[in-house]
C-alpha cells in the first residue's frame, strides 16, 4: 500500500496510528528527490573543479589580499588528478566547469528553498519544535546515534533533532555561505555588491572560508553516507530515488 504524498507525507503520516513496520510509504517528495540528485552531481563537479582551481595557488590567507610574499595560514601540495576536474592540471577547464556549474547550483538551491517553503516541507519536516529542543531530548538523540540505534516504526518517518539540525545547517548555512564566499572572490561582484567584502573581511578571507566550507560539506557527505549505510542502504537509497520507503521494524 502506498500513501498519497500530498496528504500523508512526513510527520503527518507518522502520526497516524495505522503505520506498521513493513508497510511501504511515500517518504520523499519529487521536489526533494530531484533537487537531491541534481545537487549531488553539481556539488561533485564543483568540488573537483574547485580543487583544480585551488591547485593554481595552493595557499590560503586571511584578509583583503595575499600572495606569495605574504604569510599563508595554510600551504598545501597540489591535489592529485584523481580528485580534480579535469584529471590533469588545467586552470582554464577547471574554471569553465566551476563557473558553469555554480550558477545552476545557486539557482537550484533558491528554487528548492522557495518550493519547500511553499509546499510545507520546511515547516512540517525541518522546523524545530519546542519538544525537539529540550536538553533531555537532545541528549537522548545523541545517545541513540552514538549507539547506532535508529528509530523504528512510524518514528522512522520523522527527522530527529540531529538530522534536522544538520539539514538546516547545510541548506540554510553552508550552501548559501559557499555561494556568497564564491561571489566575493569575483572582482566584478565586488563592484556590484561591495558589502560582500565587508561581510567576509576581504577577498582572501572569503577564499579561505569558501575552502573550509567545501570541506565541511565533504564531512557532512561522509557522515550522511555512513548513516545511509548503517540505517539500511537499500531502503534509504530506494527512498531518495523513488520516494518509497519501507517502515523499519525492530532490529536486533
Amino acid at each position: 500500500m502506498v500513501m498519497d504524498p500530498d496528504r500523508e507525507s512526513g510527520e503527518k503520516a507518522a502520526e497516524k496510528s495505522d503505520m506498521r513496520p513493513g508497510m511501504l510509504v511515500r517518504r520523499h517528495r519529487l521536489s526533494t528527490r530531484l533537487w537531491h540528485g541534481f545537487n549531488a552531481l553539481l556539488l561533485y563537479i564543483l568540488f573537483t573543479s574547485g580543487l583544480g582551481i585551488f591547485n593554481a595557488h595552493p595557499r590560503l590567507y586571511w584578509g583583503q589580499a595575499g600572495a606569495n610574499f605574504d604569510p599563508a595560514w595554510l600551504t598545501l601540495d597540489r591535489f592529485p588528478g584523481w580528485i580534480t576536474l579535469p584529471g590533469h592540471y588545467s586552470l582554464t577547464l577547471s574554471r569553465h566547469w566551476h563557473l558553469a556549474a555554480a550558477p545552476i547550483f545557486a539557482f537550484a538551491l533558491l528554487a528548492y528553498m522557495l518550493w519547500s517553503l511553499g509546499n510545507g516541507h520546511i515547516a512540517r519536516d525541518l522546523s524545530l519544535r519546542r519538544s525537539d529542543l529540550s536538553p533531555r531530548h537532545i541528549w537522548q538523540d545523541v545517545k541513540d546515534h552514538a549507539r547506532l540505534r535508529f528509530p523504528t516504526g512510524a518514528a522512522a518517518l520523522r527527522y530527529n533533532i540531529l538530522q534536522k539540525g544538520s539539514y538546516i545547517l547545510v541548506i540554510f548555512g553552508l550552501l548559501p555561505l559557499i555561494i556568497l564566499t564564491g561571489l566575493t572572490m569575483s572582482p566584478g561582484m565586488n563592484a556590484a555588491w561591495p558589502w560582500l567584502l565587508d561581510l567576509f573581511g576581504g577577498r582572501q578571507s572569503a577564499r579561505s572560508i569558501h575552502f573550509l566550507t567545501a570541506f565541511s560539506l565533504i564531512a557532512f557527505f561522509l557522515v550522511h553516507m555512513a548513516m545511509v549505510l548503517l540505517a539500511g542502504p537499500f531502503n534509504e537509497i530506494r527512498a531518495i530515488l523513488t520516494g518509497r520507503f519501507r517502515i523499519p521494524g525492530h532490529r536486533p
Binding site: Y44, I45, T48, I53, F54, A56, H57, R59, Y61, Q64, A65, G66, A67, N68, F69, D70, W82, I83, T84, L85, P86, G87, L91, T92, L93, R95, H96, W97, L99, A100, P103, M185, S186, P187, G188, M189, N190, A191, A192, W193, P194, L197, R203, Q204, R207, L229, P233
Partner: protein
Amino acid sequence: MTLTRRTLLLGATATLTGCDRLVRNETFREALFSAENFHKWSQRHLMVRDAMAREFHPDQISPIFRANGTANPNTPAYKALWRSGFADWRLSVRGLVERPLSLSLAQLHAMPHREQITRHDCVEGWSAIGKWRGVPLRILLEGARLRSSARYIVFHCADTMGNGQPYYESIDLDDAFHPQTILAFALNDRPLSVANGAPLRARVERQLGYKQAKYLMGIEAVDTLSPIAGGKGGYWEDHAGYDWYAGI
C-alpha cells in the same frame, strides 16, 4: 556491501574521465564556455555602469607587489627604449578615432591623473594591493575623438610570449570609460618597474589580472575583435581558452 578506498578511487576516476571526454565534444565545450556570457550579463545588470572597485587605505598596500607573467620583454626594441629611460617611447592611439595620437611619457605625465589604491586579483587566486597613478583612459579616447562605430579598445604590448606571439588584451567601452580604468605609469609612488610593466600598463579594476596589460605600446579602437591575432580578444583567451570577460 563493502566500499573500499580502492573502489571509491576507481569510481571517482571513472566519473572524472567521463567528464574529460565530455569536454572534447565541441557542442558540450561551447555550452560550458558560454557560462561567461551569463556572468557578464548578470554582473553588468547587477551593477550601475560606473560601479567602483573597492579602494583601500595606504596601510593596506601589500609590502611586496607580486609581478606575474612577463618579467622583462627583453626584445632588442624594448631594451633600447629602456636604456634611454623610455624617452623615445611613444604610445599610439589609433584605429577608429578621428584624431590618432602619439604620446610621449612626458606628455602623459602632464595630463590629468588619477590615483587609486586597488586590489589586483590573479586568475590563479592570489591578490595584491597597490597604489596606481595614471591617466584615465577616457581622457585619451576623448582627446582622440573616438568614432561611434568603435566597440572595443585593444591594448597592444611590447612583450612577446613563449611562442613569439605578442601579448595583447581588450575591453569594451563600459570598462574603457570607467573612472578607475587608467593607464598607469607609477606603482606605490615610484615609476613602474620593468617587472610591473614599465613604462605604462592598463588598470581595469573590475576584472582579473590578465586583463591588466603591461608594456603598453599602443591602444587601438576597433568594432570587432575577430581579425586580431587569434580573434578571441587577448593572448590568454587565444592560447589557453581563458574567458574574455574576466569579472569572475
